[in-house]
Symmetry: C2
Subunit: 202 residues, 2 copies
């Protein structure tokens, strides 16, 4: 099923503009201007900016989900290699402009966590859904490489995402991705130490 | 030198309200209401919301700088212990409500990085200034515990802050600090492995 072309234009415009300037600073007019579609059409498809953002988050989750599901590292047989491959994939993405690699959901959370419960719940669900794949890999890698360790696979997934989200903030602060690259190199080194190859159970 | 009482009330109100709801969603009226001081007084002290935020960032840097300078871990003799003590101090702070432990600067960066260059520069300077103390400890700890490692002390400081900033996002997403606590436990474990005590040069 494909969305109505105008509806999809509003969704794409909302994702682009909110990643650049945040939620509160973005008006319906800004979104219409970016979409190149009029305000009458906007209110035919959406009751409000919040309703559009809920649709945008759903689209974001489906789109980014497909990007990561199709990435080459996903086909690696070893779960430790998949976790490290995920980090390498994230490092490779950093070559793009900042608004194209930063996270819509992580940005939104900062603004809406006390004011828009529906948006917050959608962001939390989206971020946690993305983490589920990492947790599955971390659980499989733990069973193979670190069965007796006292940390949980779930905490590894959240830690990986926290490093990414924090790195996006510093990339924005410095307007360049080098600091994010260095952070992900540290994350990779940490994951290597959590899953020591020498310990692999055959 | 003490600021004029009304001026300081506006600064304190701005820090509180922006930590809760972000920059763009916060109006001068919101800040006046929180401060309990009228709008006439506001524009006597500040030309604009942006000018107030620049003053608020300056106050934030001085205030948080004093909190960390006075913390007990700062007086530990060993630089490795100071780095781990910093993490423990951050974990202890997580008992407070989220708007009281999250970072004004990290929140602001997300909204202003493309639209308000003066605010962005002030946030970057404030965050980097805070990191300077960690970098000094990381450099001293590296000389003692990991002189041949191929990472830089500066990258360790930024990594520590990225974990914190990302953890604040997840605390907001989940409206509870547990995920941040788990992340800081991972950060602590990583720092322990970067500076292995057994390697200490006497």
């Amino acid at each position: 099923m494909h969305a109505h072309p105008s509806r999809q234009k509003f969704i794409d415009a909302a994702i682009a503009v909110v990643r650049e300037q945040g939620y509160a600073a973005t008006s319906v007019d800004d979104i219409c201007a970016r979409a190149g579609v009029g305000k009458g059409s906007f209110f035919h498809h959406f009751k409000s900016k919040e309703e559009l953002l809920l649709a945008a988050i759903e689209h974001w989750n489906a789109f980014t989900g497909a990007v990561f599901a199709d990435a080459p590292f996903r086909r690696l047989a070893d779960p430790r290699a998949r976790l490290l491959g995920y980090v390498d994939f994230r490092i490779a993405i950093l070559d793009r402009p900042i608004p194209e690699f930063a996270c819509l959901l992580g940005t939104l959370v900062q603004e809406v966590y006390q004011s828009h419960p529906a948006l917050l719940a959608a962001c939390d669900a989206g971020m946690s859904g993305h983490i589920d794949d990492l947790v599955a890999d971390a659980a499989a890698a733990k069973a193979l490489y670190a069965p007796d360790a006292d940390w949980t696979p779930e905490s590894v997934g959240f830690f990986m995402q926290a490093v990414l989200q924090g790195s996006f903030i510093f990339a924005k602060a410095k307007n360049e991705a080098e600091v994010a690259r260095d952070n992900l190199a540290h994350l990779r080194r940490y994951l290597e130490s959590l899953f020591p190859p020498a310990a692999k159970k055959e």
